[in-house]
């Protein structure tokens, strides 16, 4: 399936990229997806995620065509 990945703030700097389009196989959730992106390492607690621009959790399912974002705790306001 085709997934659009976006990174923000300190995580964008750590990952060294803003966005990427990937076509992972055999993944069901955000947690599965992160392992593909980060060389098999599990999703750290301090990394938050959104699926299709809504807050999500590691167990949120991902589907073909989704936009999945990863970012640190938010600090607006």
């Amino acid at each position: 399936m085709a997934i659009r990945i976006r990174y923000f703030a300190s995580l964008r700097e750590t990952m060294g990229r803003t966005a990427e389009d990937i076509n992972p196989e055999g993944i069901a959730t955000v947690a599965d997806l992160w392992k593909v992106l980060d060389e098999g390492r599990p999703l750290p607690d301090r990394v938050l995620c959104a699926v299709n621009q809504e807050h999500a959790t590691p167990s949120t399912e991902v589907h073909d065509g989704d936009e999945v974002a990863f970012f640190p705790p938010v600090t607006g306001g």
């Binding site: 923000f8 959104a50 809504e54 807050h55 970012f71 640190p72 938010v74 600090t75 607006g76 306001g77």
Partner: protein, 146 residues
Amino acid sequence: MEFICLRDQPFDPYAELSAFTALLDTERQNYGAESHFIGTMRNFNEGDAVSTLWLEHYPGMTEHEIARIVSEERKQLNFGPALVIHRIGKLAPGEPIVLIAVFSAHRRAALDGTQRIIERLKHEAPFWKKEHTPDGERWVASNTKG
């Protein structure tokens, strides 16, 4: 009525409030109470001088999240018109970061609405602050409890 917007240039919060209430026109007479919060960039944070602030956001999701927060709180508290303006981009000390205004018939809904919108915005809306201090740049790790 509800007005939510992101600005990449400095804004005058009092002029924005004045313009918003002008839009409300005679409808304003239905609302005996009005509460505001303004967050302004300070020239210090955690003991260090801060000369510049960079506000990153997630275009699309940020506006969507603020609208969701306002609409959920309105359903809960039953207030009237609301205004949220939030800066993005590069800020200097003294510049407003966020303006929230809530109008209601009685004071409780306006005061509680303002308080709950700023609290939720700080913990749910995708914004990230990077500070420039004499020691270099740093991302703000997390928002304070209050």
